[in-house]
Homo-oligomer: 253 residues x 4
C-alpha cells in the first residue's frame, strides 16, 4: 500500500546521505580544479567527477519529478531545485546538501537551540569562506588588473569581507567577484547577527533566571494551592460524615 | 453626515494606491533619466512623467490641506509633507509611498511581527541601495576626480557601504554623494540591527519555549484551580441540603 | 536646619542648568576657535569665553569641595571631576554636562525606556561626531602629510568611523587624531549596539505580546480565583447561620 | 584518605594564582623582547624569564599528568593543554591563565551576570589588542614591504581591526600577521556581540519590568490565595466544632 507520497519520502530519506557525499566529492573536484589546475589525466578526473556528480543531481531531480503525485504542482513548487540543477552559475548551491553532514556534529552539541544555531553559523561561515575563496580566485585571476591572484589572498579577502572589516587592500574587479562579495557580506551580517543573538539570548535567560528565582509563579505554587484545596475537601467530607452520624442518617451509597 | 475628518480619511484611503503607483512611475522616470540619459523625445517623456507625478503630489497636498478641519494646525503638523513636496533635494522621499506596495507582499508573509520586520528590512534595503546608487551616480559622474562613473560601480559602492564593509576602493567626492553615503550608513546600521534583533527574538522565544514548557503557569492551571473550587462549592451545597433535610427545614426559595 | 549634605544637594540642583549653559558656550567658543580661527578681537572673545567658562567649572569644583562634609573623602571620590577640571586634554569631557540639556527633549519622548535609550543614543552620537570632527581637525591640519585639512573632511571621516564603515580614504596621522578615532569607534560599537538592542527589545515584546495574549496568567485570573473563594466563604457563613438557627443557638456576638 | 582526584583538585587550586603570575611575567618578557629588543644582559634576562616560565608550564602539565587517576584518559582529554605547552606558535594561549587575574576585579562588579560579561569583554578585548599588537609587530617588521613597523602603528591597526572599522591604511602582509588579524576579527565580532547583547538584555529587562509591574502574577498573589484558603479552613473547623457541641458529641482526640 505504498502511496506515491510515501515513495517520495522514502526516496528522499534514502538519498539524503549519498547525495551529501556526492556534494562533498563535487566540492573536492571544484577545489582541486581551482587550486591545482590539473593537466592531462588529473584534469580528466576532476572533469569526470564534476560531470558524474552533476548527472546524479539531475537524476535525483528527475526521479523526484517522476515520483510526484501531481507533477505540474511539484514542478511549479520546485522551480528553485530546477534552477540549481540546470544553471551553471547556481552550481555551488548544490553544496547546501552539505548541511546534512552538519547534522552529524549535532550529536556532540545536543538538541539545545543555541548550540544548534552556533553550530550552523560556524559551519556555514567556514563553508561560505572556503567556497567564496575558490570562486573569487577562479573569476579574478584571469584579469590583468586583478588584486586577487592566489588562494591565500582569496582567503584573506573573504575573511575581511565576511567579518565586515573590509580593509580594501584587495578588492574584486570582475562582476562575478563582486556578486560573490555581496553574498559574503550578506553572510557576514548574518554571522554577526547570529553570534550577537545567541549571546543576547544567553544573557537574557541568565538574568531572568537570577531575577525570577525569587518571585516567579511556577507549577509548584499551583501544586501547593491544589493540595490546600484537596485538604479542604477532605475536611468537608469528614464534617458531612459527622453530621450524618449525629442525625442518624445512613451513609450515601 | 460626512464630517471633514471623515472626508479626509476617505481621500487618503482612496489615493493611497494610486499615489504609490505614481511614486513608482516617478522612480522609473528617475532611473531612466540617470541610467540612459535620453535625448530628444525620450528626455521629453521622462521630463513629462516627472513633472506630472510631481504635480500630482502637490495636488494631493493641497487637497488634503483643503479638507483639513483646522487648516493652520494641519499645516503646522504636516510641515514635513510640505518640505518633501516643495524641496527638490527631498524629492526621493516621495518614494516612501512605495511602502504601500510592500503591504501586498504581506499576504505571503502573514501578520507575524518577525516576518513583517524582515520583509520591510529587505524591501527597504533593496530600495535604498537602488535609489542611492542612482543618486550617487548622478551627483558624482560629472566630477573630474570622481571614482564612481557608471551604474555598476555605484551599485557596488552602495552595497559595500550599507553592509558597513567599506572597502574604500570607491568613495564619493561630492558633498551630495557624501550625504547619500551617510543615509546608506544609517540604513546599514538599521539593517544589521533589524536582522540581529529578529534572530535574537527568534532564539529567545525558542529557548524560553524549551524552558517554559515544564514549569510555566498557564491559564490551564487556573482552569484546574477554578474546577476544584467549583467542586468544593458543589459539595458544600449538597451538605447544606442534607443539614436542612435532617432538621426538617424547607429548602430556600 | 540645613546640614552640609543638604546644602551640597541644593547647590548641585541649582547649578545644574547654568553649568550646562556654560558648557554650551564653551563648545561654541571651541567650535568658533577651530572653524573660523579668529584674529584680533574675535580671538580675544573666544579666549575670554573659554577662560571664563573654565574658571566657572573650577569654581564649581571648589565650592562643592568646600561644601562637602568630609573633604578628604569627597576629594578621593571625585578625582575624575578634578582631572576634567585640571587637565587640558580632558577638557571636552566638560561637555558631558550637556546631557542635562537632553533631558529637555525627554518631555517629547516620555518616560518609556526605549524612547530614552534612542534619544540618548542619537543625541550622544551627534554630539560625539561634532566634537570629534572639531578635535581631529585641530590636531591634524597642522601636519604636512595630513589627509584631514578642513571641516567637511573631518565630519565625513567621523561619520565613516562611528558607523564602522571605515573607507580609509581619509585617516588620522597624529597620535591625538588616532585617540579621537578610538573614542569614535567605541562610540560606534555602542551606537550599533543601542539601536540593535532597542529593536530587539521591541520585537521580543511584540512577539511575546502576540504569544502571551492567549494563555498568560494575569492578575485578572487571580482576581477570579479570589472572588470564587469569597463566594465559598459566603456560602459557608450562611450554612453556619442555618446550623445555628436549627439547633436554637444564639448568633455569635 | 586523599584520593588522586582530590590531590589533583588541590594542586590545581594551589597553583592557579602562582601560574597566573607566571603568565604575567611571560607576557612582560614578551613585551620587553618585542618592544625594546634588548641586547647583552637585557636579552639574557628576557630569554631566562621566558625559559623559566615555559619550564614551569611544562612542569605543571607533567605534575597534573602524574596525579591523574587514569593517565591515558587524562592525556587524551587534555591534548589542547599539551599543544599549548609544546607548540611555540600556541605560546600566547598561555595568557588565558590571566583570566584568573580578572576574577579579582569581579569583587568590584559583583556577581551580576551582565557586570561579569562586560568585565570579561573589556578585559579580554584590551588583552587581545595588546598581545595581537606585539605579535603582529614581531611578525611584520622584518618584511621589506611591511606597513606595520613600530608599536604605535601595530596598536592602531589592532584597534581598527577589532572594532571592524578596517580603514586599510595599514594591513599585514605576512601569513602570521593575517592569522593574527583573523583572530582579532573574531574577537571584534564577539566584542560587538557582547556589548549589543548586554544592552539588549538590559533594555528587555527594564521594559518588561515597566510592563509587568501592573499585571504580572507573583508569589505575593499566591500568598494571598493561600491565606484566603487558610481562613476558609479555619471557618470550617469552627463550624464543625459548633456542630459537635449542638449534637452533644465529644471533641475528637
Amino acid at each position: 500500500m505504498t502511496t506515491p507520497q510515501n515513495t517520495m519520502e522514502k526516496w528522499e530519506r534514502r538519498t539524503e546521505w549519498p547525495l551529501a557525499g556526492v556534494a562533498l566529492l563535487f566540492l573536492a573536484a571544484y577545489a582541486v580544479d581551482v587550486l591545482i589546475r590539473p593537466h592531462g589525466t588529473g584534469a580528466d578526473i576532476t572533469r569526470a567527477v564534476t560531470a558524474v556528480s552533476w548527472s546524479l543531481f539531475i537524476a535525483d531531480y528527475l526521479v523526484r519529478l517522476g515520483l510526484a503525485r501531481n507533477r505540474w504542482r511539484w514542478f511549479y513548487r520546485h522551480l528553485f531545485d530546477l534552477a540549481i540543477v540546470v544553471l551553471p552559475l547556481l552550481r555551488p548551491l548544490q553544496l547546501l546538501r552539505l548541511v546534512t553532514l552538519i547534522t552529524v556534529m549535532q550529536r556532540a552539541v545536543g538538541n539545545a537551540i543555541r548550540g544548534r544555531v552556533v553550530m550552523y553559523t560556524v559551519a556555514g561561515a567556514v563553508l561560505l569562506v572556503f567556497v567564496a575563496s575558490l570562486a573569487v580566485l577562479e573569476s579574478e585571476r584571469g584579469q590583468p588588473e586583478a588584486h586577487i591572484t592566489h588562494f591565500g589572498q582569496a582567503l584573506w579577502w573573504s575573511i575581511t569581507t565576511i567579518t565586515t572589516v573590509g580593509y580594501g587592500d584587495l578588492t574584486p574587479v570582475t562582476a562575478t567577484g563582486r556578486v560573490i562579495a555581496v553574498l559574503l557580506m550578506i553572510g557576514g551580517i548574518s554571522l554577526v547577527g547570529s553570534i550577537t543573538a545567541t549571546l543576547a539570548s544567553w544573557i537574557v535567560q541568565r538574568v531572568s533566571d537570577e531575577d525570577a528565582a525569587a518571585n516567579m509563579v511556577t507549577t509548584e505554587h499551583i501544586g501547593r494551592l491544589l493540595a490546600e484545596i484537596a485538604d479542604l475537601r477532605g475536611e468537608i467530607a469528614q464534617m458531612r460524615e459527622e453530621g450524618r452520624r449525629s442525625s442518624g442518617q445512613p451513609p450515601p451509597a
